[in-house]
Symmetry: C3
Subunit: 212 residues, 3 copies
C-alpha cells in the first residue's frame, strides 16, 4: 500500500467534518420538501468509504501491478443513489421517476464495482453495462426538463458534467488503461467527491434558504 493511503485519510478527515457540518446546516431546513437530511448521510457514507480504503480492506491488483481499491464503488451505490434521488426531488419528478433515477444510479455503481474488481479484459463488459445504466439515469433525469425551473436545469448540467468525469478517471486509471497511477487516481476522485458531494450539497442547501 503506497502514498494513496495518505490521500484516503485526508478524504476521511474532510468528509468526517462535512458530515457534522451538514448535520447542522440540514437541521435548519426541516420544513423543506426534501426527503431527509440527505447531505449528512452522503458525507457520512463517504467517510466510511475513505476509512475502508485507507485501511486497504478489499483491494485487487491491476495488470500493470498498481493496486485497485474497488470498495469505493460499493459505497457509491448508497451515496450516489441518495444524491440523484435528491436531484430528482429538486426537479419535482413524479414518484416513479424518482425510483428509476435511484435504481439506475445504484446499477451504474454496482457495475462500476464489478468493472473495478475484475482485472482481466472482461472488465470492459461491466464498464459497458455501467455506462448503459448511467445513460438511462441521465435520460430519466433530463427528459421533459423544458417545463421545469431554470435553477433545476443548471443543477442538472452541473451534475452531468462533474459525474461524467468519474468514468473518465476510471478509464485513465489502473482500473482502465493505466495512463496514470493509483495515487493520481486517488487525488482526482477525492477532488470529484468534494465537488459532487460537498460543493453540490452546500449549493442546494444555500439555494433553498434563499428561495424560501
Amino acid at each position: 500500500m503506497g502514498e494513496e493511503t495518505i490521500v484516503y485519510w485526508v478524504g476521511a478527515a474532510i468528509f468526517g467534518c462535512t458530515s457534522l457540518l451538514f448535520a447542522v446546516l440540514d437541521k435548519r431546513r426541516q420544513d423543506e420538501e426534501l426527503l431527509f437530511r440527505s447531505n449528512t448521510f452522503v458525507s457520512f457514507i463517504t467517510t466510511i468509504s475513505y476509512v475502508v480504503m485507507a485501511l486497504a480492506l478489499g483491494t485487487a491488483v491491476a495488470e500493470n501491478g498498481q493496486p485497485i481499491y474497488w470498495t469505493r464503488w460499493l459505497f457509491y451505490i448508497a451515496s450516489c443513489s441518495i444524491l440523484t434521488l435528491d436531484i430528482a426531488f429538486i426537479a419535482r419528478k413524479p414518484a416513479s421517476e424518482k425510483v428509476e433515477v435511484a435504481l439506475f444510479t445504484g446499477l451504474t455503481m454496482f457495475c462500476g464495482f464489478l468493472a473495478s474488481m475484475v482485472v482481466t479484459v472482461d472488465r470492459w463488459w461491466f464498464f459497458a453495462l455501467s455506462s448503459a445504466a448511467y445513460i438511462g439515469m441521465l435520460y430519466t433525469l433530463f427528459k421533459r426538463s423544458s417545463d421545469e425551473r431554470v435553477n433545476v436545469t443548471s443543477i442538472m448540467w452541473f451534475v452531468m458534467v462533474t459525474w461524467s468525469l468519474f468514468p473518465v478517471v476510471w478509464v485513465l486509471a489502473p482500473t482502465g488503461l493505466g495512463v496514470f497511477t493509483t495515487l493520481v487516481e486517488a487525488i482526482l476522485y477525492l477532488a470529484l467527491d468534494c465537488t459532487t458531494k460537498i460543493a453540490f450539497g452546500l449549493y442546494i442547501s444555500t439555494q433553498q434558504h434563499t428561495t424560501k
Copy 2:
C-alpha cells in the same frame, strides 16, 4: 468451466435485447399506476447476472464435482422482488402487503443464495428457510384474492406455477440431489427466466394497453 458458459452468454444476449425492448414498451404506458418501468430493470439486472455467470465470478464446487454458480441468487433478490412488487401492484394490494411480498421474495432468494453457496448437507437448512419465505410470499399474495379481478388471479396462478419450478430445478441440479448436470440446470433456468421475466413482462405490458 464447461459448456454452460455458452448458455450464460446466450442468456446475457437475450436479456440485453429485452432490456432495450422493455425500455421502449414501458415508455408508452407512463400514465399507468405501476410503480416504475419495472420490466426494464428486471431484464437489465438479469443481463448483469448472466454476464457474471458467463465470466464464472463466484462459483462453488458441488459434492459431485459439478460447478455451482451461486451468484444467480443474489441478483434474484433484486429482480424477483421487483417482479412480485409489480404483481402486488397489479393485484391492488394495500401498501403494507406490497412491502411484505417484496421482503418475503428477497428473503426467499437470499436463503436460496446461502443454500447454493453452502455445499455440505447443511444447505438443506437454507432450502427449508427459503421455502418458508416463499410460502409466506405466496400466502400474502393469494389471501383475500376472491374479491379481486379474474385477470389478476390468472396472473397469480401463472406466477405460482412457473416460480415453483425454480426450487424443483434446484433440488434436481448439482445444488441439490445432482440428478442432472450444471449444463442442463443452466438451460432450464434460462427457460424459466425467459418465461417469468420476458413472457410475463410482455403479457402485463399488452394487458394494460388493452384495458386502458
Copy 3:
C-alpha cells in the same frame, strides 16, 4: 468451533418459533397503522442469522485466538432497521425522520460489521463511526419527544437502555477488549436479542390490542 455453536442453534430454534408466533399475532392487527408485519420479519431474519452462525459461515479470529462471528452484524442491518422504523411509526415521526432513523440504524450495524470483521487495532475506527451513527439515530428518535404520548417515551427509553448494551458486550467480548470468551458473548447477545426483538415485539403487539 466451540460450545457457542449450541447457543446459536438454541437461538435459531427460539427465533424460528417466534417467527411463527408473530405471524399469527401480527395477523390479528391487520387494520393497524403500522407499516407491515414487522415482528415476523425481524424474527425470521434473526433465525437465518443464527443458522449462519451455527454453521460458522464467515468468521474471523481475534488477536486472543477466540473466534469472531461477524455475520451477525450484516443481519442486524436489516432486522434492526425494521425495528427502529417500527418505533418511528409508533412515535408518529414524520416520513423524513422515519427514513433517517432507519438509515442511521443500518449504518450503525454496517460499521459494527466492519469493526467485527477487522481484527487489528483499526477496528476502533469503525467502532467510533458506528457509535456516531447510533447517536444520530437516538437523537433523531428522541428529539421533540416532549409533545408525544407517555407510552411512546417509555418504549423509547426501553430501546435506548437495552440497545446500548450491545456495544457494551462488543467492547468486553473478543471483538473488543476480550474480557470474556466468545461463548459468554454468544449467551449475552442471545439474551439481548430476545429482549429487544421478542419481548419488545410482544409488548408492542399487546399494547396495540389494548389501546384499540
